[in-house]
Symmetry: C2
Subunit: 145 residues, 2 copies
DNA sequence: CGTGAAAAAATAGCGTT
DNA sequence: AACGCTATTTTTTCACG
């Protein structure tokens, strides 16, 4: 993981469909060297994958919420992960510091759908209660770097 | 936005570097038709862009936090957006329902860096106080669909 | 890592429904 | 208006220095 790898990552975070020629130019490398580096970054797991950023408005699912989870007892991260994995509306889940045990980012079609999904989260025996903040408007979204 | 567009989006969310032949197969289309559709989805804004999903552990920045913002007065979303746009550690920002006015997702090198970034958020005249939850462990991250 | 040739994919033009 | 097909250009990929 040197400066060249970081340049490649910056380039491909900005545009995952960049050609190897473009990636190479951004990193000061030939196209073939750029490909070898990128392949290695994927193989080692530094890059998890490539994804399209979709406008939630354009899709059917346009109701977003941040949900704080308060657990009963002290479930392990693995147990929590296993419980949440089956709920497709849960997009992002992290254990956090502070009063809550975990923070979820959820995505649903509409409010009734979101409510139903939160019910499923609650029905997990591990979860005692939840506290939700529904997204009203999205101010900015940046690629993660 | 029909079923074919949705199939294309599903395909490209799973792998943004898929070839038009692959995208076409997923949608039951020829490569050229797949390209035309994808180009249109980008042009209309349904697809905002293509990005690599980077393992935060592998990068220098591996301290994440959810930050609730409580504002003075009633700033417009536009004003809030403008204030946060200059702070690169702010990855995601939304106005939300509930007690807080907005929720941020922030990413920094380490705790001191995060603290400094939150200070910058606080120094914004619009912000009265903040409440942070630092991410301890990431349970799951799914592409947004 | 770079170079250069072969294979694959992307792109643009054209005819069809 | 949208598709498939074909020809051309560009990109990817691989062997070698």
């Amino acid at each position: 993981m040197d400066a060249i790898d970081e340049a490649i990552i910056r380039c491909v975070v900005r545009d995952a469909r960049a050609t190897y020629a473009e990636i190479g130019k951004a990193a000061g490398l030939s196209p073939s060297a750029a490909k070898r580096r990128l392949d290695r970054l994927v193989a080692t797991g530094a890059i998890r994958g490539f994804s399209a950023v979709v406008d939630p408005q354009a899709m059917a699912w346009h109701t977003e919420a941040f949900v704080e989870i308060y657990c009963t007892g002290n479930p392990t991260p693995a147990a929590l992960r296993k419980a949440l994995d089956d709920i497709p509306e849960v997009i992002d889940a992290c254990t956090v510091s502070g009063a809550a045990d975990a923070m979820l980012y959820m995505l649903a079609k509409d409010i009734p759908h979101l409510e139903q999904a939160i019910q499923r989260v609650r029905s997990t025996t591990l979860v005692e209660r939840t506290e939700s903040a529904i997204v009203l408007s999205r101010l900015l979204t940046r690629p993660r770097l």
